[in-house]
């Protein structure tokens, strides 16, 4: 299981990476926005995408839309971890096909739960 963590703040990438490691995921790659993330995803081998929304260059929502529009990536599970808390934004993400949405600041438990749920649904 290889996971790509995308956030423009390196501190947040480290936090998420460490939490994922605690959950037993050790194969983790990073990108600092959608533009750098997309080629990594297109290169293949990534099984799960965790991304922020508000990033310079290419935002998380645009990355999500690009992923869903790419036949090779369309089924990739995507978790948004973002400080964007507006209703309409969450609706937009849902319509774009996000698999989970975590609002910052979050707890280790929340992240674990959302990831678990995503894999339950994907596996089931």
């Amino acid at each position: 299981m290889k996971i790509l963590v995308v956030d423009d703040f390196s501190t947040m990438r480290r936090i998420i990476k460490n939490l994922l490691r605690e959950l037993g995921f050790n194969n983790i790659d990073e990108a600092d926005d959608g533009q750098t993330a997309l080629p990594k995803l297109q290169a293949g081998g990534i099984d799960f995408l965790v991304t922020d929304w508000n990033m310079p260059g290419m935002t998380g929502i645009d990355l999500l839309k690009a992923v869903r529009a790419d036949p090779a990536l369309a089924n990739l599970p995507v978790l948004l971890v973002t400080a964007e808390a507006k209703r309409e934004q969450i609706v937009e993400a849902a319509q774009a096909g996000v698999n989970g949405y975590v609002i910052k600041p979050f707890t280790a438990q929340t992240l674990a739960e959302k990831i678990e749920k995503i894999f339950e649904r994907v596996d089931g």
Binding site: F9, M12, I15, E22, T107
Partner: protein
């Protein structure tokens, strides 16, 4: 305009002629009245000019949406920014305390672990040197078993506290995002002030204002500096002082 100024000149000429006549006739009262009328005339013109300039500034401000934007900045955005910055203080305060609390709780745990393992190490050394009576060894062996349990529960506490420290660092992302927005606001204030000063200085009213530069232009990066924007507070200060502020 030229016909209007001709009328003005004619009117003044008439008054000047009457003034000369009044003075020649030795009519001091009439002469004084005429002098006052002339003075009043030029005063009125001055007031009209001030009025026109004021109106022109007001119109220009409206035209560029400055009036509304400046009101919005003062009424909403700047109070908002103060709120945001206060929230940054709150978040950094909470994160620092959460981290310090976890460290304060971890230090005695690490100390206890160190003490117990040092004590066992000493006993283990004596056992290896065959300096330990059997009775004592039986106790030490119990202690070793207890130590395994203790170290398992201790490492659980340590990793729980470390996760707390890890999560507390999330403030950097949130406060960073908030501060970015405040930086954008400060930039917006600068731009509006400069525009206002330019307009009140009566410079190039007809200039095309660069409408809608990208909403998220973000902070000015010195290496990406362009000539048409201010680069620093010093630039704004200089501009202000050159205009007599």
């Amino acid at each position: 305009m030229s016909s209007r100024s001709e009328i003005k000149i004619d009117a003044r000429l008439e008054q000047a002629k009457s003034l000369v006549k009044a003075l020649e006739n030795g009519d001091g009262g009439l002469a004084e009245g005429l002098i006052n009328e002339l003075a009043e005339m030029s005063q009125n013109e001055m007031f009209q000019e001030v009025g026109k300039i004021t109106r022109r500034l007001h119109d220009s401000m409206n035209q560029f949406g400055l009036d509304a934007r400046i009101s919005e900045l003062a009424d909403k955005d700047i109070p908002d920014a103060k709120e945001r910055l206060n929230y940054v203080i709150t978040m950094t305060d909470q994160a620092a305390h959460a981290t310090l609390t976890a460290v304060e709780e971890l230090l005695p745990v690490a100390e206890g672990l160190n003490d117990r393992s040092n004590k066992l190490l000493e006993q283990w050394g004596r056992f290896q040197q065959r300096e330990m009576p059997y009775e004592e060894f039986r106790n030490v062996s119990k202690e070793i078993a207890g130590f395994f349990e203790y170290s398992a529960s201790t490492s659980e506490i340590i990793s729980k506290k470390l996760t707390e420290i890890l999560m507390a660092q999330g403030y950097q992302d949130i406060t960073g995002q908030i501060i970015r927005r405040v930086i954008q606001l400060v930039q917006d204030v600068e731009t509006n002030m400069v525009e206002l000063i330019r307009l009140s200085g009566g410079m190039n009213e007809g200039d095309q204002k660069k409408q809608n530069e990208p909403e998220l232009a973000g902070p000015v990066v010195p290496t990406l500096a362009t000539g048409d924007s201010v680069q620093s507070q010093d630039d704004v200060d200089d501009l202000l002082s050159s205009l007599g502020f």
